[in-house]
C-alpha cells in the first residue's frame, strides 16, 4: 500500500515541526540538547582559535621583541646620558658652591682685592706641599702674594709664570708663618711638616694656651696680612725643661680637597731681610 500525502500537507507538517522546534529553542527547553550538540564544535573552535593565535603570536612577537630591545637600548643610552649630565651638574654645583663661598668671603672684606684661581695640580715631589693655580703674571699675580680661601690661610705665591703660579702651602715643611693666638694674644711661629701637620713653635712658657684656641696671622714679618684665620689648637705640649711651649694646630682649610683659591692682590709682602742683623764677619 502506497500511502502518499499531498505536497501541501508535507509542507504544513514541516513548518509545524520547524516552528515547534524554534519555539522550544526560544523557550529554553532545547538548551541542554543544543549544549550537548554544540560542545564538540565549540571545543574544536577553541582549539583552532588557540592554534591560530599561537601562530599569529609566533609570527608577530619576535618583531615586538626586536622593537623592545631597540627601545631598551635607546632608553639605556638616554639613562647614561642623563647620568653623565647629572654628574656634570653635580660637579658644576660643587664648583659654584666653592665660588659662591669665595665671593662671600671677598665681599666681606672690601678692603682687599682678590684674584680667584682654580687649583690645577700638585707638586710631583711628595716631600713638598705645593699646588699649581691657573692664574699667573698676566693676571696680576706676583711672587709672595698671600693665598686664602673662605676658610682661612692657604699659603703664598712661590713662583709665577705668565699663565700659572705655584703656591707654597702653609703645611709645607719649609713654611713658617708668624701667628697670634686670639685669646691670649701671644705671638708664635707656625711651621709645616713632612706629614702635612702644622705646629706652633716658640710659645712663651708663661702663656696659658688651651685647646680650641683660634690661631690667626699676626702680620709680623710682612709676609702675610693680619688676622687671617689659620686654625685651632688641638693639643699643647708643655715641658718645664723647655724654653717654649709647642702646640699642634688643626688647619681651617682642608688642603686635600683644595679646588679654588683667592690671591690677595693688594697685599705687598715686605722684605725684611736687610733689616735682620747679621753676625759680624
Amino acid at each position: 500500500m502506497n500511502i502518499s500525502f499531498p505536497r501541501l500537507w508535507q509542507t504544513i507538517v514541516l513548518l509545524v515541526v520547524v516552528g515547534g522546534v524554534i519555539l522550544l529553542a526560544l523557550s529554553g527547553y532545547l538548551s541542554p540538547v543544543i549544549k550537548v550538540a554544540l560542545s564538540p564544535f565549540l571545543s574544536a573552535q577553541g582549539w583552532l582559535s588557540n592554534r591560530y593565535m599561537a601562530l599569529v603570536d609566533f609570527m608577530t612577537v619576535p618583531r615586538d621583541v626586536a622593537n623592545l630591545q631597540q627601545r631598551n637600548v635607546e632608553l639605556e643610552n638616554q639613562v647614561s646620558q642623563l647620568q653623565t649630565q647629572l654628574i656634570q651638574l653635580q660637579q658644576q654645583l660643587r664648583e659654584a658652591q666653592v665660588l659662591y663661598a669665595l665671593l662671600d668671603f671677598a665681599r666681606a672684606r672690601p678692603e682687599n682685592e682678590y684674584i680667584a684661581a682654580a687649583v690645577i695640580g700638585r707638586d710631583p715631589n711628595p716631600f713638598l706641599q705645593y699646588v699649581i693655580i691657573d692664574k699667573g703674571s698676566d693676571d696680576g699675580i706676583r711672587h709672595g702674594m698671600p693665598v686664602v680661601t673662605q676658610q682661612g690661610l692657604v699659603g703664598r705665591i712661590d713662583a709665577v709664570t705668565a699663565g700659572a703660579s705655584r703656591v707654597q702651602l702653609i703645611i709645607d715643611v719649609n713654611s713658617t708663618v708668624n701667628v697670634r693666638l686670639q685669646s691670649s694674644q701671644a705671638n708664635s711661629l707656625l711651621t709645616g711638616s713632612l706629614t702635612g701637620d702644622i705646629n706652633l713653635q716658640m710659645i712663651p712658657q708663661d702663656v696659658a694656651v688651651q685647646p680650641g684656641e683660634v690661631v690667626l696671622t699676626s702680620g709680623l714679618g710682612g709676609n702675610y696680612p693680619q688676622d687671617v684665620l689659620i686654625g685651632q689648637i688641638v693639643t699643647v705640649r708643655k715641658s718645664e725643661t723647655e724654653l717654649f711651649q709647642t702646640a699642634s694646630v688643626q688647619p681651617a682649610v682642608n688642603f686635600s680637597s683644595l679646588r679654588a683659591v683667592l690671591v690677595v692682590k693688594n697685599f705687598q709682602p715686605v722684605n725684611i731681610a736687610p733689616l735682620i742683623p747679621t753676625p759680624a764677619q
Binding site: F127, Y130, N174, L194, T195
Partner: protein
C-alpha cells in the same frame, strides 16, 4: 720620531702625575709615573734617544716642581745608567729588571731629593722620610710599573716595528 714622541708622552705623564697621582697618597708617598716611563723606555731593546727622553723628563718635572731643578735631572740620569747596566745582564727578563730598577730608582730619587732639600735648609727627618714617604712610594711605583711597562712596550713596538724576514 722617538724624540718627537718624547714630548707628548712625557707631558701627558706629567699632567697625569700632577692632577691624579700626586693626589693619590699611600701614607705620604705618591707614585712617580715619569720615573716609571723613563725606566720602561730605557728597558726597551730597540729604543733610541733614551738620554734625550731622560733630559726632557727631568727638565719638565723640574719646571713645575719646587724641588731644586737639578735633582730630578741627576736622579733620572743615574737611574737610566743603572737601567742600561742592568739591561746588558738581565735583558732576557726585562720585567724583572723593571721591578728591580723601580725599587732602586725610587730609593735613589728620594735619597737625592732629601739631600737636596736638606742642603737648602729644609728640616726633613730621615726616619720620617723613609717610613712615611719613600717606602709607600716604592709600593705605589711597583703597582704602577707593570701597566706602565706594558704601555711603553706597545709604544716601542709601534715606533720600531719588527721587520719580518722573507
Amino acid at each position: 720620531m722617538a724624540i718627537i714622541l718624547a714630548f707628548p708622552v712625557l707631558i701627558l705623564s706629567l699632567m697625569a702625575q700632577m692632577v691624579v697621582l700626586s693626589r693619590l697618597y699611600l701614607l705620604h708617598g705618591t707614585a712617580d709615573i715619569i720615573l716609571l716611563v723613563l725606566i720602561a723606555w730605557s728597558l726597551q731593546e730597540k729604543a733610541r734617544s733614551v738620554w734625550i727622553w731622560v733630559i726632557i723628563g727631568g727638565l719638565l718635572v723640574s719646571l713645575v716642581s719646587a724641588t731644586p731643578f737639578y735633582i730630578y735631572l741627576i736622579g733620572y740620569l743615574i737611574i737610566t745608567i743603572i737601567v742600561r747596566l742592568l739591561r746588558r745582564r738581565v735583558w732576557q727578563t726585562p720585567l724583572l729588571a723593571m721591578f728591580v730598577v723601580t725599587i732602586l730608582g725610587t730609593f735613589i730619587q728620594h735619597l737625592l731629593i732629601i739631600i737636596g732639600l736638606k742642603a737648602t735648609g729644609q728640616p726633613i727627618s730621615w726616619q720620617e722620610s723613609l717610613s712615611l714617604v719613600t717606602l709607600p712610594s716604592v709600593i705605589l711605583n711597583l703597582l704602577l710599573s707593570l701597566p706602565v711597562y706594558g704601555v711603553i712596550t706597545d709604544l716601542a713596538s709601534w715606533v720600531y716595528p719588527v721587520e719580518e724576514n722573507e
